[in-house]
């Protein structure tokens, strides 16, 4: 391919609230620009992990290059960068956006602006992108494009009168989107002869090529043989291959110069060396400054992962190592639990990230897992002046050694229709939220702003939010910082024995309530045994709640004759099977799901 003219390049991404049709529009753009015929195209090329397709979310950033012949007769190169669509991956989103010059904002013609729409638009504006709105799903009977256009103008404050009204599903008016990309999204700038300065917006591990760096060249040019350096991690490598992104394939080329989007390989062994947001430069002719905005991603949520079958411990370790090759945000270290045996304490970006890893371990590596309560990182300031970052409640020092503790807070924005404002405010109140303010988007909808402790939102906040707003509330948050807090470790004793895997850190004010609910929940989860089982919650050795699982006194099949035998056998088999999925703690058998399900304590 001839050296591309910068003016003929458009680098853009699509931002949207979940389910507003981002991936479908991406598919249409790829299809319409002729990269793939619709027959060749598997639905939603850009979401290429099975899990992504099933959940309808994007986990890893993806990019694709297509060529569009515009009405002015010129051919334009489109680099479409698909960004992850979830708050857990906010940082990755912001780096993907930084690799673009403009963003298409997709808004559902029926639902209008949601919390993630706002969060993503602000991220795009923060990165100086030109935002081009598109109204999608106009084929829906409930579509109300005029209202949504007004909402975009009023709430976000961007021009939306000429926003294309499209149906990405049917392809209606998608051509207009393509034309507007040419007209409204600015061409990139940058000097191809300047020192190399390229932004890493993702990297993946490939067993043949090593790490493949996805990058946007801001300044300069990179070629095969260039000795490159990652400015933050200081890793160096010689470029083996460069190229751009076909649909689901890598297409090598001679060089990438300022304004272009593509990939670089260079026998790099680990994605830890090529962190998202880092700047790639030329060792021999380095740029003066790295690109702004880099930060090392931190795990926000921790939990213990244990193999259901203790013998699978080495398999779990291998699987985690393999996943980590491709996921610099995943952290793990070995730990041991009295109740669960050998396992790992793992760190994640958020609960979705946790769930994804858990699901991939189970599906792709065929592991049966037991997961303990997810928790956040607490800062424990000891009387001797030391500070420890606590990721496992079992490691909490003796209360006498603790000066004070801190917990992480987030700033949250919740979009809700006015009828549910009351119940959502109640929810935030219960979760120790600090009310910051409320803005009306329009008469019927408001944006609530709260500071919330992260540990109050990681398990079931989203579910609670949805159930208390009949699905209408949407939610977004970002990490704010640490604040001092009155925290305590809540221990659970089953048949008088402390079960380490059930301990968690809780705010003192909610310890009693959580302890009580926890005991109630466990009472339902633990099957009856031949003896009575006390379930107790304790803080600092003091029992604050108790329930009892009564002894099993009667469990009989009244009838069993000739025609019943097959059915009765199944019943007994089920009973027997149930026992296999239990963990033995002392004399008591605890179902594995009890370790996780006790976290869903919101009973409204």
């Amino acid at each position: 391919m001839a050296k591309a003219d910068q003016k003929k390049i458009r680098n853009f991404c699509i931002v949207a609230h979940i389910d507003h049709g981002k991936s479908t529009l991406a598919d249409r753009i790829i299809e319409k620009t002729g990269l793939l015929t619709s027959r060749e195209m598997q639905s939603q090329v850009l979401d290429n992990m099975d899990l992504e397709r099933e959940r309808g979310i994007t986990i890893k950033a993806q990019a694709v290059r297509t060529v569009y012949k515009a009405k002015d007769g010129e051919e334009y190169i489109f680099n479409l960068i698909d960004t992850p669509g979830h708050v857990d991956f906010n940082y990755e989103v912001s780096r993907s956006l930084a690799a673009c010059d403009g963003a298409i904002l997709v808004v559902d013609a029926a639902q209008g602006i949601e919390a993630q729409t706002l969060a993503n638009v602000y991220l795009a504006l923060d990165n100086d992108l030109d935002v081009m709105p598109v109204i999608n799903k106009i084929d829906l009977p409930s579509a109300d494009p005029e209202r949504v256009i007004d909402e975009i103008e009023d709430v976000i404050g961007i021009e939306a009168q000429d926003a294309p009204l499209i149906s990405a599903k049917t392809g209606q008016n998608v051509d207009e989107v393509l034309e507007q990309i040419v007209k409204k999204i600015p061409a990139p700038s940058g000097d191809p002869d300047a020192p190399l300065q390229a932004l890493i917006f993702d990297s993946v591990y490939d067993s043949y090529k090593g790490v493949i760096i996805f990058c946007r060249i801001k300044e300069g040019t990179v070629k095969k043989g260039t000795q490159i350096r990652m400015m933050a991690t200081k890793a160096e490598a010689e470029v083996v291959e460069i190229g751009y992104f076909g649909a689901g394939q890598f297409i090598p080329c001679e060089e990438l110069s300022a304004g272009m989007v593509g990939y670089i390989t260079g026998s790099i062994k680990n994605v830890k060396d090529t962190r998202v947001g880092d700047t790639v430069t030329d060792c021999l002719n380095p740029c003066k400054e790295p690109l702004p905005g880099y930060k090392k991603v931190q795990s926000m949520v921790y939990c213990g992962l244990y193999p259901a079958d203790g013998a699978k411990y080495p398999d779990l370790r291998d699987a985690l190592e393999k996943l980590q090759l491709n996921d610099a945000a995943l952290q793990f270290e070995p730990e041991t639990s009295v109740a669960l045996g050998f396992g790992f304490r793992c760190g994640f970006l958020g609960l979705l990230h946790l769930e994804i890893i858990q699901e991939r371990l189970e599906r792709e590596y065929n592991l049966d897992l037991v997961t303990t309560a997810p928790g956040v990182i607490y800062r424990v300031h000891k009387t001797n002046g030391d500070m420890i970052e606590l990721t496992n409640p079992s490691n909490l020092p003796d209360p006498s050694e603790i000066e004070y503790m801190e917990e992480p807070m987030v700033s949250a924005e919740i979009m809700v229709t006015s009828e549910f404002i009351g119940s959502i405010m109640d929810l935030c109140q219960e979760r120790r939220g600090v009310y910051l303010g409320m803005e009306y988007m329009e008469e019927s909808r408001a944006l609530l702003k709260y500071d919330l402790p992260l540990n109050e939102i990681i398990y079931d906040f989203f579910d609670a939010l949805k159930s208390r707003s009949r699905g209408y509330a949407s939610f977004d948050y970002e990490f704010k910082g640490y604040v001092q807090s009155e925290l305590a470790k809540l221990d659970i004793l089953i048949n008088k024995e402390e079960v380490d895997a059930l301990s968690f850190i809780v705010h003192k004010a909610s310890a009693y309530d959580r302890g009580r609910k926890m005991c109630e929940k466990l009472k339902d989860e633990i099957p009856r045994h031949l003896f009575e089982i006390p379930i107790q919650a304790a803080v600092g050795g003091k029992i604050i709640a108790r329930e009892t699982v009564k002894a099993m006194r009667k469990d009989v099949l009244a009838k069993c004759y000739g025609g019943d035998i097959t059915r009765k056998r199944k019943l007994l088999e089920k009973q027997k099977e149930g026992k296999k999925r239990m963990r033995q703690v002392g004399n008591v058998e605890i179902p594995q799901k009890a370790f996780m399900s006790v976290l869903k304590l919101d009973d409204k």
């Binding site: 006194r553 025609g563 019943l571």
Partner: protein
């Protein structure tokens, strides 16, 4: 010299009833006289098709179950038994049972059953309290039952079973005790006393699943079970299986066969058979059955399944079983269950203790691999 033939039990399923009871999940429903007649013709055809069994087997028992077999005109029961006798050799003392709903019999019918060779009747009474009978949507009252029972005695039935149910919604220990005493007074040869099981797909399931507060508590249920044993034993009955009581030598031989894994052949809709460790289940779709498609599924039991059945069926009998060749296999389990006082052993036979009976599912499940 003639070689000894193997014992075979016969089960005849009559899937018809006057009205479906609210707790019943058996394969049974009301049907027109015409359907019933067509069904009997199919039954006879199915019996004829199994002629080869008579070469190796000799019949020890016949059991007409349902549904409500007594819904059929007496003539039809006679025709079925005639066909069976024409085809099989019967043991001299063969036990021939017919289940009867107290609301469906009269003097002539009972007489005719007796003449056809039926020598044991099983009455589904369930309760002696009319309020409880209504709740179960039974079609008869206590009084109607008394009439039927007396007629059966007069017709010459000397071996009668009465089915009872405990743990019914609204039932108290007092009302249950009254039922037991009333029944005891009649001196039937055999009493089956079952705890109500709420089965999926029944109106009771809709009404009571998830509402344990509407049913007697587990503790009350247990006390009713203990009460049954105390009252019936004091009346001269012996509990020989978890829910079955009999006067001396009046155990139901047919049912004992199921727990001892005697071979059996079932005829009719959905009927099960066990022949040389293959379990057959007939067609369960009535219209298919009426088109002559009798066969359903079959399963060859593995050695493991045979071993497991030997225990989970055999241990239902109060006298227990000889673990025989499996003793070594279950050594650890037997030891554990004895320590837990769920199982005991006497004269080489292992049997469930009272506690073991109460928790029999828990115990029996452990004999499965």
């Amino acid at each position: 010299m003639r070689t000894e033939k193997q014992t075979l039990e016969l089960y005849i399923h009559i899937p018809f009833c006057v009205r479906k009871c609210a707790y019943c999940d058996f394969l049974s429903a009301p049907a027109s006289r015409k359907t019933q007649e067509a069904y009997v013709e199919c039954l006879l055809k199915e019996i004829r098709r199994s002629a080869e069994l008579s070469g190796t087997y000799e019949v020890s028992t016949v059991f007409f179950g349902g549904g409500t077999p007594s819904i059929l005109p007496e003539k039809q029961i006679g025709r079925i038994l005639e066909q069976l006798r024409a085809q099989f050799s019967f043991r001299e003392s063969a036990e021939i049972t017919l289940e009867a709903n107290p609301g469906t019999v009269d003097k002539d019918k009972l007489r005719a059953y007796r003449d056809a060779g039926v020598n044991r009747l099983s009455f589904g009474l369930q309760s002696a309290e009319d309020a409880e009978l209504r709740l179960l949507s039974r079609i008869h009252t206590w009084r109607q039952f008394l009439v039927s029972y007396t007629l059966a005695r007069e017709a010459g039935f000397h071996n009668i079973n009465i089915d009872l149910m405990s743990a019914l919604p609204g039932q108290t220990e007092e009302s249950y005790q009254k039922t037991l005493e009333r029944v005891l007074h009649l001196e039937p040869e055999h009493i089956s006393a079952y705890s109500l099981i709420i089965e999926e797909g029944t109106p009771f399931y809709e009404r009571y699943e998830g509402h344990p507060e509407l049913l007697p508590s587990e503790e009350e249920e247990r006390r009713m079970y203990v009460l049954t044993k105390e009252i019936l034993e004091s009346g001269g009955y012996r509990r020989y299986e978890i829910s079955n009581y009999a006067k001396k030598d009046r155990e139901c031989r047919h049912n004992l066969g199921y727990w001892e894994r005697t071979d059996y052949k079932g005829y009719g809709l959905g009927a099960a058979s066990l022949l040389h460790n293959i379990r057959f289940t007939n067609q369960t779709d009535l219209s298919e059955y009426l088109h002559g498609n009798f066969a359903g599924s079959e399963e060859k039991l593995t050695d493991q399944a045979v071993r497991e059945e030997y225990f989970f069926l055999g241990l239902r009998k109060t006298e227990g079983i000889d673990p025989g060749i499996y003793r070594e296999y279950y050594r650890e389990l037997l030891k554990k269950l004895k320590i837990q006082k769920l199982l005991d052993e006497k004269d080489g036979k292992i049997y469930l203790t009272e506690k073991g009976i109460d928790l029999s599912n828990y115990v029996l499940a452990q004999f499965l691999d």
